[in-house]
Symmetry: C2
Subunit: 369 residues, 2 copies
């Protein structure tokens, strides 16, 4: 009886403390929102009355999030803290003009998840059926930004996004990463030798194709609506497995038979934020360019030399056939740094004499998490 009372007393005290903290948090969030309004007022003061401008600043947001994560000492994970701050910033920003974002739909896809992860739930996010539509919506000014997948979705989708930049003046204003690891899951009653069916989303099946060919060449691969759906199907099945994330194993009480079976070890799906804005440096940035070379031996090597010389870290090079001629290629190149950095300014000055054409797609904050 006496311990129970003590427990009740302890709980009451803790709840009172939480209530006091909540009061402070609410007060501070309101104060933050008022500051955001003041920022908007100051900016509006020098504008005509009817100018609807957007107060979203990708580089500032990235800085805030990085600081929150650096200073975080738990118990919440960096990811959770960043998520809460995204939502707070999203709510404050929406007081003026909610950010309008077009994404490659339909609803419920990873791209929607990426859009909400980046812009928070106070943004207005709208699905569009094709990548072309997303580009068109941003170009027309109907929305402020677009979100499109660029890596590690079906091969066609990636290329389609890149190709769209060739005929567009849109800039890259940011990137979002969703990290995805795949596992082979089975229910308790399944043994390795019995697996004759493997469920997963078609994209996940594609991302683990080599591994499946090597380990389960005879198992039938069955594409279902989502990886969660695949995991759920296993209940009571003794001859089936599913490819899904580790969370799904926990959710559905499945055994992880093999971990990280994706063919590409760093299997994160990457998305680009496209817009009309040239984003100032945030301190940890990336730059994307597209160049076409003259059709001659060593062209790519020649093109990359200045990056090497200036010690610039190339993060990605993609080769795509040019739209303008047979056997001509364009290269999409990502590298660390901002176009305002001295080293990068020098590289971009050196490049034109080495290439047929050069287009800056944008400098933008590296994905925060």
């Amino acid at each position: 009886m006496s311990t129970e009372l003590t427990e009740a007393q302890k709980l009451l005290e803790l709840r009172n403390r939480i209530d006091a903290i909540d009061d402070d948090i609410a007060r501070l969030i309101a104060a933050r929102a008022r500051c955001a309004q003041d920022v908007a007022e100051v900016k509006k003061a020098n504008l005509p009355d009817d100018a609807r401008i957007l107060f979203y600043r990708p580089e500032r947001e990235a800085q805030v999030l990085r600081k929150v994560m650096e200073q975080n000492q738990g118990p919440l994970s960096n990811e959770e803290m960043a998520r809460l701050f995204r939502e707070i910033m999203s709510a404050c920003l929406a007081l003026e003009n909610p950010v309008k974002v077009a994404y490659l739909g339909p609803e419920g896809t990873f791209t929607q998840q990426a859009a909400l992860k980046h812009f928070g739930h106070s943004a207005v996010v709208l699905p569009f059926p094709t990548i072309d539509d997303v580009f068109r919506e941003v170009e027309s000014g109907a929305v402020n930004y677009g979100v499109v997948p660029v890596e590690n979705s079906t091969e066609g989708v990636v290329n389609h996004t890149l190709d769209n930049f060739l005929g567009s003046n849109l800039k890259i204003c940011g990137e979002v990463e969703l990290r995805i690891h795949h596992n082979l899951l089975v229910s308790d009653v399944t043994s390795v030798n019995n697996i004759s069916r493997i469920y997963s989303h078609s994209q996940s099946l594609a991302q683990c194709r080599n591994w499946l060919d090597a380990h389960y060449p005879k198992a039938e691969r069955i594409a279902v609506n989502s990886n969660a759906e695949a995991a759920r199907r296993l209940k009571g099945e003794w001859n089936a497995a599913a490819i899904a994330g580790s969370l799904a194993a926990e959710r559905y009480e499945l055994k992880i038979l093999s971990e990280k079976i994706e063919d590409q070890p760093d299997n994160s799906t990457r998305f680009l934020i496209i817009g009309t804005q040239q984003v100032p440096a945030s301190g940890v940035d990336k730059t994307s360019i597209v160049v076409s070379t003259r059709n001659e031996p060593g062209a790519l090597h020649n093109l990359l030399e200045p990056f090497h010389r200036h010690g610039i870290d190339l993060t990605r090079v993609e080769t795509r056939p040019s739209r303008s001629g047979v056997w001509t290629y364009v290269f999409f190149i990502d590298f660390s740094g901002h176009v305002d950095d001295d080293a990068i300014r020098q590289v971009l000055q050196d490049l034109p004499e080495r290439v047929a054409d050069l287009k800056l797609l944008g400098s933008y904050p590296k994905a925060v998490l």
Copy 2:
């Protein structure tokens, strides 16, 4: 030049203030999370080591949210403040055991939206294809809660949820409301007389059927995937309209031809949280019961009399055929108050002599927003 400098200075000062506020918010959120951990520790102290219990308390959460909204003086709306606090509570709670929630899928539906609105994005929410599946998952203990629509979706769905309670021991632990108003939207180039096609989601078309019969009896009604999709289709169409929310009008720059055209003026979609928990009183609660009457005249009147006598506010009565006999009915009754309130305890004592069967489905916090 001098105003520009002043603007820059003002902005810098505001940003510094925001940075300081952010530091405080981050510190307080971490402190709150530590308190939540302490609460869990105190509770666990009297439990066996392997007991995984859930620390989610619906009544406490409702109280916190109501207080936040009462004290809110802007500039953020009550809805945004409540949303941010849901997310903060959701993140703190997930430190111990993330809440697992089954909802009627697929992903991207209003029911998912309701689940995330109620439990926040740190909860694990899982789609299931039927209402029966959702009930089964909760009954088996695989998830902590289920979310199912109960009002104003297609007629069949509602009844199906109610009928499920007849054969289940699950309790109602909460409710969620999503308010939905429909409007008739057209593009600038469309005049009223030209409308020959009306796009919308099939549910929205159903919810405006009478109004459409009265106003546009000859227009073809075309069901599309979502109301947003319907609105988007109008671009450049001169003889079509869409039914969608006012947000869609703003997003797609459409004209609102007629407002609030839903047949039921209070068109909110309501969802129930189902679980195994008996929720303590939060202060503003609702109770749901299901009763079957003997098949005699005046049975319903007789049944409702004690409510009237004790001044209890009935919020809803639904009549459903009983599963057990021809021409027998069961009544689902919602009323204000908690089963621990004196008046309601008395009514529940009076009822058994007036009915054939009585089952308490649960007392739970009224939807906060």
